[in-house]
Symmetry: C2
Subunit: 214 residues, 2 copies
């Protein structure tokens, strides 16, 4: 496959593909000579992954580069590699640890993890972006006067845990071992909007059930 063909198969313009090559999101093709390069199926797959991350997942290019770095890092074990790739995903605004709301949020989230018995998550509090995001969100709500304590969070956390179980079951059902990491990243990115849409739809359904349409 040459550049133009890659473009045709993927629906991405050659200019954009060149941009991705420059940015290191796509490995260079096999250079045949100074003016020809050959691309394979793996380039097409990678290109689709990149597009999904950027367009559907709205990840900035720099984050995509980072995620791919972990996806491709053979020196790591499977689950570490998966975690590393997923951890690169969210754009976490660093919480201001001096802020009183942030400190209160830390306490609430810690209490939540205790209550749920999420011992593994407890070990990750210092490094997991998910933990930090949670603290930031709880702090933002507190600042606006909404008190999301552990007991109000717990039922949501239970539901999200069940969702995570479904996620991992789906992942394990995936036949090809080699593509699992890639699949996991894709799932993390693409399932998110899907879940959000389902959530909204469920809210509409439930609102209509309770109050009708007027």
């Amino acid at each position: 496959m040459r550049l133009a063909e890659l473009s045709r198969h993927s629906g991405v313009s050659t200019a954009t593909i060149k941009y991705y090559l420059r940015e290191g999101l796509l490995p260079p093709g096999r250079q045949i000579n100074a003016t020809t390069a050959e691309y394979g199926e793996e380039h097409l797959r990678r290109l689709r992954l990149v597009r999904a991350m950027i367009q559907v997942g709205r990840l900035p290019v720099s984050t995509v580069r980072e995620v791919l770095g972990h996806v491709d890092d053979d020196s790591l074990g499977r689950s570490i590699r998966l975690g590393a790739a997923l951890w690169a995903l969210p754009q976490v605004p660093e919480p201001d640890e001096d802020d009183e709301y942030v400190r209160a949020a830390h306490r609430e989230v810690a209490a939540l993890l205790d209550r749920l018995g999420w011992q593994n998550a407890k070990l990750l509090t210092t490094i997991s972006p998910a933990y930090r995001s949670l603290v930031v969100a709880v702090a933002a709500l507190r600042r606006l006067g909404y008190d999301w304590g552990a007991e109000r969070l717990a039922p949501y956390a239970e539901l999200m845990h069940r969702t995570a179980v479904l996620d991992l079951d789906n992942l394990e059902a995936q036949p090809s071992e080699a593509e699992r990491i890639e699949t996991a990243v894709l799932a993390a990115i693409l399932n998110e909007p899907l879940l959000r849409a389902l959530h909204r739809l469920a809210q509409e359904e439930e609102t209509a059930r309770r109050y009708g349409f007027e």
Copy 2:
């Protein structure tokens, strides 16, 4: 409160507040004379709402304006107003109805709603952005080779429905009738990142439980 004080209380620069005033995200203060305006508590609350939508919810300014328009529209009934405000929220890329993946996604989602018995949601298929978002997400996954049929979606949808029930219970527990709409919008925006963070954390917990840390 004068502009500078509003800025100090909210932590938002005067330049940015002026920008929001210009963009119509914040109602003008009570004009005392040509060079003085007085702002009240409601301005502070509105400003915090706007910041939450923009910074936490990452909504574009134009969407925030639209949402606020519905929040403030007294001519609508309560649940309609709520729906209108929430419907303005998502940035839905219009699905291309000619695309075969989109048509297949439509069929899958319709099958899902039948299976779940979400009769109300069925009535909204033509207008609800949540429905459209769902179709777009399913189509995107299909295009990448992932087959999310109704039976795979159903368990997720069940969980999201339970989440929605929690949402509405929380909303009803809110004492002040007047602020319910605002609360609903805030909840829709701020609970989203919170749920996402919980979801990620649950994934990390479950991954660690299944595979340990290596």
